[in-house]
């Protein structure tokens, strides 16, 4: 009976992220449009886009290999599983115990690995440019991400996200310099990993400046729908990650019952909205950086993560 309810709650969580992810992207787009004094498309537009893409036929290049065809499903599955591992409205769900933060990083890394390979598969110049840029960013973002994980693990004593969230939600933590550094570093990594301004521009039409978009330029139809959906999910995942670690307020503890879950879900949606608003605000107020500046940007994230980790070795109270 307990197992069944566990599976049920976990299932609800997985469906919830699936349902909320396009809405979050639609919300960010809407806010950005309003900040630019445009009316903007409805917040539900991403759902319609996904539906439209799913109905459309797939146009494949003649020389596309099996890898090109399976990559959209692999990346989507990997990101969805990763999203299922992050506590959203409640900690300690069934899957939370099966894998830790390092596994999440690895899942996202393998999704990107396949996408980068697929970008080069057809042999167009844009795919190659996109893949090479994406891998350059990833090569810098992943070490930074791992250092952030270590920093949090040193504070909470575990790489298990549920444990970390539970610990940080408790009153033992207080204000910590190392956590502040980890938060800034994590935001920087999240911007880079989600192809947001200032690293990449998700709304550009300029082929030559694209990173993520250039890599998936050859995709169409349901394949593109899967990749887009994966990108929506990834944004949700990172925001959930930041929320559950740094603002774990009102997050439901495992087994506290439906009411606590409902409160947790409400708080979660509020957190998503606030984060989406801040993201839109930040993206409107800054220009995209030069491609060769990205290493410096992510290098700063790496250094912050490293500094936070080292500070914890000096004293556990930082």
């Amino acid at each position: 009976m307990v197992v069944i309810s566990d599976i049920l709650v976990q299932g609800v969580q997985m469906l919830l992220v699936l349902l909320l992810a396009p809405l979050l992207t639609g919300f960010v787009r809407k806010i950005k449009a309003r900040l630019l004094r445009r009316r903007g498309a409805s917040v539900f537009q991403p759902y319609r886009d996904l539906l439209r893409l799913l109905r459309k036929e797939v146009v494949l290049a003649d020389n596309a290999s099996w890898l090109f065809r399976v990559t959209p499903y692999i990346t989507f599955a990997a990101i969805w599983v990763a999203a299922a591992l992050v506590p959203t409205f409640a900690t300690g769900l069934l899957f939370n115990w099966t894998a830790d933060l390092i596994a999440i990083v690895a899942l996202l890394g393998s999704a990107r690995f396949f996408l980068a390979l697929a970008g080069m598969d057809v042999g167009t110049s844009f795919g190659g440019i996109g893949s090479s840029r994406e891998v350059m960013i990833a090569a810098l973002a992943e070490p930074a991400m791992l250092l952030i994980v270590f920093c949090m693990a040193l504070v909470a004593g575990s790489t298990q996200l549920s444990t970390v969230a539970n610990f940080l939600a408790s009153s033992y933590v207080g204000l910590r310099v190392s956590l502040g550094m980890a938060l800034i570093a994590l935001i920087m990594v999240a911007l880079a990993e989600n192809a947001r301004i200032p690293v990449d521009n998700p709304a550009t039409h300029l082929e030559l400046t694209m990173v993520h978009e250039a890599m998936v330029l050859e995709y169409s139809g349901r394949h593109l729908a899967m990749i887009e959906f994966g990108a929506f999910l990834q944004l949700l995942l990172y925001i959930s990650l930041i929320a559950c670690v740094f603002v774990p307020w009102k997050i439901a503890l495992f087994g506290t019952g439906p009411l606590a879950y409902a409160i947790g879900a409400g708080a979660y949606i509020v957190k998503l909205a606030v984060a989406g608003f801040l993201l839109a605000l930040f993206e409107t107020a800054t220009a995209k950086m030069r491609v060769f500046r990205i290493p410096q940007f992510l290098g700063a994230a790496l250094m912050l993560g490293l500094l936070g980790t080292l500070l914890l070795f000096v004293s556990r109270s930082f």
Binding site: L35, H205, E207, A287, K288, M289
Partner: protein, 503 residues
Amino acid sequence: MAALIDLMLKGHKVQQHGPWPRVVVDAQQWEFAAGELQQGRWGLLGLWGEPSTVHMAIMDPFATEILVVSLDCPDRRYPSVGRHHPPALRLERAVNDLFGLSAQGLPDTRPWLDHDRWGVRFPSGDRINGPSQAMPYRFLPAEGSGLHQIAVGPVHAGIIEPGHFRFTASGETVVRLEQRLGYTHKGVEQLMIGASLERAVQLAGRVSGDSTVAYAYAFSKAAEAALELGAPDRAVWLRALLAELERLANHLGDIGAICNDASFALMHAHCSVLRESVLRASGSAFGHRLMRDIIVPGGVIGDLDDAGTEIIQAMADNIRLRFPALVELYDNTASLQDRTVDTGVLKPALTRQYAAGGYIGRASGRSFDARRALAYPPYDSLSFEVPVLSEGDVNARVWIRIREVEQGLSLIDQILNRLPEGRLMTPAGDRSEAREGMAIVEGFRGDVLVWLRLRDGRIERCHMRDPSWFQWPLLEAVVENNIVADFPLCNKSFNCSYSGHDL
């Protein structure tokens, strides 16, 4: 040092060519002129063909003397200018495509406008039926280890005009950029032949949508020069008002679009609002947002009433109020400055060699502005500054536009305050003999040149040279050693015309 006057005295002066002289020269003097161009003593304003003649407009950069030299070439051959003076290369390739006049010694004999899609060779010359060439277009080679090619266009992801760009890159660094243009060739000059003045000025206004006023203005001035016709005072001032409104709208649009290419959408949104306000005011005052088909030979059709004056005045006041905040936003956004400063530097020497006009020339130390250098009315009695910078980067090209917006607002004020009353049109008399005229007008991109010959009130030959002819090649030079991802920014800061160039 030879002056243009010497060349003029050696040649045979053509009657009925105004306002500057045209002389027919022999091959030796043609070569002499090419040599002087190579030495950088004169600037090339244009080179165009007729079925068995080539013409070249030359400018003396100091005295701003202008001269058209013509060379008859009954055997369809003439000595190449491009061999000595690279700015003429593409013009000579275009002359060959359209008229079949081949430049002897031209280092680059590939077609330019002719994409082998017309079904006829030399459409303005001998009209030989059949496909033009069997050979595919060869791009210039760039060899070396680790180099790869990136082909962009002609169809782009954004809604812009078509043009093909072939990059050779080493990783992210551009080693060579080669342009391939001509996709929007419409044969406007061919359509002009035999057209009445009314139809011809409409055609001129459709060469390039964003410069419709500048083209109609230049065409009308050239036609008036040929017919020795003077536009009435009020028309002269209204024309300047139209030209300044067009410049204002385009500069505002450009400033925003350049920032948008650095993914700074905020500037784009605000500048678009201002640009739209200019277009709406123009639409209310003159009945057409882009002010098309208002300037005609002899004057203008469409007057400005008091309501229109008020609308334009209110628009200008509104921009004067809101624009400084945008300039401050541009200047104070560090992430944006990081993209524009030192990106795509155009060296002043190249600008001088190509006699590049407009914001591109003025951002790289070349102060030429036809409104000032030629001082055609009413600009001779208006006070304005010609902003010049020497940095030559994207930032400088933005700043030139910002300064010109400010100057444009002041000019609009002056024109509205001093707009004389009176007639709008001078009727054109009947002129049956051949008469030739030429005009240079400062459009928002730079100097638009129109040369034409009228006979029996109809166009016998009309050539329109867009400023982009001397700006496109510079873009190739500017992008070298920049990174691939910065090309859109450089390109937008140039904002060359495809349509005006391809004609």
